[in-house]
């Protein structure tokens, strides 16, 4: 009987190797383990064995059964894996088909630039404030030390409104409004729209500016340089050099224009920078004492600096759009590029 069991074990293990489908496996299982299966039959014959033989053969029979059951299980798993593999192979897709991108919008390139500028100054402790775009002569010019017959007014070709007011030509009037209502120390930036009568490839009648103002008991020109140099490094990269040239603005003294190393040629000289290696990015200066007087600050005690930059200009150092009027056409093919 033991021999019989041994031969069945060998027989079954051999046959299992040939099995390729779950159906065949089931047939095989029934052939041996079914109610009339070969192994079942043998087990039924156990009763005929002697009392001494029974436990020995019984144990052997159970071992064979366990071995074969394991073998069946193993084969079954293998078949399943094979089947799944086959199925998955059949499910292969063309992974080069286009992805289904969730819709997402993009901020306007000028606003993107404006937000970057704002973020940098916010990190330096500047607070964002805004002010009206329709202004009076007083805030736009007079309070900024630019009386009516001052030639500096020629630099600002102003849009006048029929009610005698005007569209601010810079965001600087907000300086005055803030200083009138608050006491130093002040650290503000004023992002916003400004307007000048100008319309060509490098000028739009409406443009964006960021104005900055820092006023305290003892603010120096060297600190103006420090703030603007750190701005330039963060905005244009660590390698950026900045130079300050004397200039003129009615509401700052001393006044400066600041250039950065040309972003196109890294300072080597190219057409963009007129072969100077520098491009102008902003105007700045120490707040003129007349401006402080206009807002009842004591210029002997309080000093400060202000700066202002054109956002389109800075945006275009990066984007290099040949005609900046394109910014305001809102052509979706354009807006999607940024």
């Amino acid at each position: 009987m033991k021999a019989e069991l041994e031969s069945i074990q060998t027989e079954v293990l051999e046959q299992l190797k040939e099995i390729t489908s779950p159906d065949d496996l089931e047939t095989l299982r029934i052939t041996y383990f079914g109610r009339n299966g070969k192994l079942t039959d043998i087990m039924k014959g156990m009763g005929k064995l002697s009392k001494e033989e029974r436990p020995i053969v019984g144990k052997f029979a159970n071992d064979v059964r366990a071995t074969l059951t394991d073998a069946f299980e193993k084969t079954k798993k293998e078949l399943e894996i094979r089947k799944q593999k086959q199925q998955l192979t059949g499910e292969t897709i063309d992974i080069t088909l286009p992805g289904r991108k969730p819709a997402y919008g993009k901020a306007h390139p000028v606003i993107q630039t404006l937000e970057r500028i704002e973020t940098i100054f916010t990190q330096m402790g500047f607070q964002t404030v805004t002010g009206p775009e329709v202004e009076t002569e007083h805030y736009n010019f007079d309070a900024l030390n630019t009386p009516p017959d001052h030639p500096a007014r020629d630099l600002h070709d102003t849009f006048y409104l029929t009610d005698g007011k005007l569209l601010r030509t810079h965001t600087s009037p907000v300086q005055i409004r803030i200083m009138e209502s608050q006491k130093p120390p002040l650290r503000i930036i004023v992002p916003g729209k400004a307007y000048r009568v100008d319309y060509d490839v490098s000028h739009t009648p409406m443009f964006h500016q960021v104005e900055g103002l820092l006023v305290d008991k003892h603010v120096t020109f060297s600190e103006l340089k420090g703030v603007l140099v750190s701005f330039a490094r963060q905005m244009f990269g660590d390698q950026t050099q900045m130079r300050f040239r004397p200039h003129f603005f009615p509401f700052t003294e001393p006044s400066a224009e600041a250039d950065i190393t040309c972003t196109v040629c890294q300072g080597k000289g190219c057409r963009t920078c007129g072969y100077t290696g520098w491009v102008e990015i902003l105007g700045a200066g120490a707040v003129d004492p007349e401006v402080f007087k206009a807002v009842n600050y004591d210029p002997e005690e309080i000093t400060g600096f202000a700066f202002g930059m054109g956002v389109e200009r800075i945006a275009n150092l990066q984007f290099r759009i040949p005609d900046i009027r394109t910014f305001y056409e809102n052509d979706l093919r354009f807006l999607k590029q940024f």
Partner: protein
């Protein structure tokens, strides 16, 4: 302003290359906009003399020339110019020269005859467009001389941008003073010596003319000289070359000299024909009402008493400080010249020049301010040059009426203040050196240590305060030499800005929902209101007009963002871009206020446009969903949507978003009439919100709500109701009947069509039931659900759809 380096060097020495000088001036605040090398490309061109000519043996139109260029042997040059003749002086481009026009001169054989260079026309040298023949040179030139030298082209021109505060730099002397500040070199002023030498004649000027200033407030100083028996002619070459190099055209010797001195001293001068002045005298006065003058440009101009004129006994003969009169101008027949050197009030010149749209070298300087102390030296210099160049004699004496004489200004300057403002440690010696090189007088203050009394030179009209002196020291010290430090002061604590927060939330939401951000001009066309179907009496039509618009399209300030967005849709559609999803955030201009708004448009197609996510036209509920999202991110609840009669929208497909009594926005389908006005062939949907009102209502405080621990149960419910039933009515019943067990209701289908009876529609909801305190049983939920069905049936006549 243009500056010739050759000319500049006659006043001051410097060793800088043009590029170096440009850099130094720029860093002093005199920005150099361009550097132009005049003779660039003409280095290999020399003066040649055609010694002999002979016909070309093989070509009728060519001539063989033997040309002397100062070498041992003459060059043979074959030439086809019609005007060549024996003895002619003409420019010769030698072998190897690359001309500015791009031609490189090589040894050549023309029809078998050797040619060793090229005789050139002006066009070939890029000097002018004249290609009619060879450029004829003066026979006084020496053969072989570089052409650039012969024509004064061995010069470099710097184009300077002079800021409005620095009129003192609008002259060669002014620029020389800046170079002195940089180098310390001395300035060589031209020698002017009129008195006591033989060019001053016997006639006393006081006997033959007079100057009266009737309005001294507008004319602080007026001086005149008379030069008799001049010969008006062409100027000598050196004068013409000087003027041409800085871009001033030559006219005649007298006028050219006034321009020459203008460039030299920055003092505008004017020469009158003495005999054309009525009673031969000068009156400086305001123009009378309706007086006229014909200026040198032959335009007759109407005058008024705001304008200052130079008049003779009868009539205006010049627009003071702006332009001379045509009738008294210097002509070939002029014998005696009255030469004016005067100073005028800047604001007056500025307004006169503006009113006439007449901007001249003179007005440019006067309106910025001219040194009143230079009047006489410039006048004498010009008088001397006239005698030297045009002959004649100067009448004895000068008329100098100077009612506006001022004492030199003195300013206290403290060393500590300099360093306090700049953040530097500049020493006394540097301050003294800088200011004295710039022409300031310096005296140490008697009482204060390290403090000075500074006398401002008359040409620095811009310096009136200590801070102005500090700027002078800073710019000469060099801004780049000022340290770069970070602010030491306290950082003020900014107040919370709720408006900004709302803006950011809305913007982020709109961007994340696939809308592109637009930025439009604040100005629109006045017909925009009509295009969006607003009647004239609509409050939004009250727009502010621009006094000086660029064009009608940009002539009023917008009161609404809608026309701009519709324009954008039209622009994109015209360029075959039809998946339009745009928004804009901007203030608009209403009644003196600038409310901040956000508006958006969906039109054409939405969706990805790829397989599995095809394009589809947007509908009302797309725009409504966006509006709901805007309100949700701002924490606004409990608003209602009410239909309006706003004419821009489809009357049955719009709604205003109302919170309590306040309208905070409006959404809807664009009226077909508006679509037609913007030539849009598809439906468009708009939202338009008032950001200030959203800000008022926004709630950002959030509190934790426990995550449900008991399971929820879902039931679907499809009902058939009347077609015109508003979908919020069943919602309401489900909510109130289901009570706190109703966690959410989702309308997942709306159907009208064959499957339901006419006049009916089917609404399908998924209701999620949940209790915070127990696990709901099926039975309990079914009971509650049945009650809902019964009430829907009883109150709305809703039938369950099977």
């Amino acid at each position: 302003m243009n500056v010739s380096l050759k000319w500049l060097k006659t006043y001051i020495d410097f060793d800088f290359s043009p590029k170096e000088l440009a850099d130094r001036l720029t860093m002093l605040g005199i920005e150099v906009e361009s550097i132009k090398h005049l003779g660039a490309g003409l280095e290999g061109v020399v003066v040649g003399k055609v010694e002999s000519i002979s016909p070309h043996p093989n070509a009728d139109k060519l001539i063989r020339c033997q040309v002397d260029i100062g070498d041992e042997n003459n060059l043979q040059i074959v030439c086809g110019a019609p005007n060549v003749y024996q003895g002619m002086f003409a420019p010769v481009a030698t072998i190897g020269t690359e001309l500015p026009t791009g031609i490189t001169i090589k040894r050549a054989k023309l029809r078998g005859e050797e040619s060793h260079g090229m005789l050139c026309s002006e066009k070939e040298l890029a000097l002018s467009d004249d290609a009619s023949g060879l450029m004829e040179l003066s026979s006084n030139l020496s053969v072989g001389m570089p052409l650039t030298e012969a024509l004064g082209l061995n010069d470099v021109i710097l184009e300077l941008e002079i800021t409005p505060n620095r009129p003192d730099c609008l002259s060669m002397r002014g620029v020389a003073r800046e170079i002195r500040a940089e180098t310390g070199n001395t300035i060589k002023y031209p020698e002017v010596a009129l008195i006591g030498i033989d060019i001053e004649g016997d006639t006393d000027i006081r006997e033959i003319t007079s100057v009266t200033i009737a309005d001294p407030d507008l004319c602080p100083r007026y001086a005149a000289r008379v030069i008799q028996n001049v010969k008006v002619a062409e100027s000598p070459t050196w004068v013409k070359q000087r003027l041409e190099s800085v871009g001033i055209g030559a006219i005649n010797n007298i006028v050219d000299i006034t321009n020459f001195v203008l460039m030299e001293y920055g003092q505008p001068l004017h020469a009158f024909d003495y005999h054309k002045l009525a009673e031969n005298r000068i009156v400086v006065r305001r123009a009378m009402e309706n007086e006229t003058i014909t200026t040198l440009d032959e335009v007759e101009r109407k005058l008024n008493p705001n304008m200052l004129v130079i008049a003779d006994a009868e009539k205006p003969v010049a627009l003071a400080g702006v332009m001379g009169g045509y009738d008294s101008e210097i002509t070939e027949t002029t014998k005696d010249v009255l030469l004016e050197s005067a100073n005028f009030h800047p604001a007056s010149i500025r307004s006169t020049s503006k009113e006439h749209g007449l901007h001249t070298e003179a007005s440019y300087r006067f309106e910025r301010g001219v040194d009143p102390e230079v009047v006489i030296s410039a006048l004498d210099r010009a008088a001397q040059l006239i005698v030297e160049i045009a002959g004649g004699t100067i009448c004895k004496g000068v008329l100098d009426v100077y009612p506006g004489r001022k004492k030199p200004l003195k300013i206290r300057l403290r060393k500590d203040r300099v360093n306090f403002i700049l953040g530097t440690s500049i020493e006394v010696e540097e301050i003294e050196q800088t200011l004295s090189r710039l022409g300031f007088g310096i005296e140490p203050n008697q009482t204060e240590v390290d403090s000075f009394d500074i006398t401002v030179p008359s040409f620095r009209l811009d310096i009136t305060r200590e801070i102005d002196l500090i700027e002078e020291i800073a710019r000469v010290h060099g801004y780049d030499n000022i340290p770069t430090t970070l602010p030491k002061g306290d950082i003020p604590i900014p107040p919370l800005n709720k408006h900004e927060k709302v803006r950011k939330c809305i913007r982020n939401f709109l961007l994340s929902s696939g809308m592109m951000e637009a930025v439009n001009y604040s100005f629109i066309h006045p017909n925009s209101f009509e295009k969006i179907r607003l009647n004239d009496d609509h409050p939004l039509c009250e727009a502010t007009k621009l006094q000086n618009p660029l064009s009608p399209e940009m002539s009023i300030l917008r009161t609404t963002l809608i026309p701009s967005l519709l324009d954008n849709a039209q622009h994109n559609h015209n360029h075959q871009i039809n998946n339009i999803a745009l928004f804009e955030m901007s203030s608009v201009f209403i009644n003196g206020n600038e409310p901040d708004r956000v508006a958006g448009i969906l039109a054409g197609e939405i969706g990805g446009g790829v397989y599995g996510n095809p394009y589809r036209p947007p509908d009302f509920f797309d725009i409504k969903g966006i509006a709901e999202g805007i309100l949700e991110v701002c924490g606004i609840q409990g608003y209602e949507l009410k239909q309006t009669e706003e004419p821009t929208y489809h009357p049955g497909r719009n709604g205003e978003v109302v919170l309590g009594e306040t309208q905070i926005g409006i959404i809807g389908e664009v009226h077909p009439g508006v679509l037609e006005n913007y030539e849009l062939p598809f439906k468009a949907y708009l939202f338009d919100f008032d950001i200030e009102k959203i800000t008022d209502a926004a709630v950002f405080s959030k509190r934790f709500e426990p995550i449900p621990i008991y399971p929820s149960i879902q039931r679907d419910l499809a009902i058939v109701v009347d077609q015109d039933l508003k979908s919020d009515m069943p919602m309401d019943i489900i909510n109130t009947t289901g009570g706190e067990w109703v966690e959410s209701i989702r309308l997942f289908d709306v159907y009208e069509g064959n499957q339901v009876p006419g006049g009916k529609k089917s609404l399908a909801y998924t209701i999620t039931y949940h209790s915070a305190t127990e696990t709901l049983t099926d039975k309990a939920v079914n009971d509650r659900h049945d009650k809902i069905v019964q009430r829907l049936n009883k109150e709305l006549g809703a039938e369950l759809r099977m």
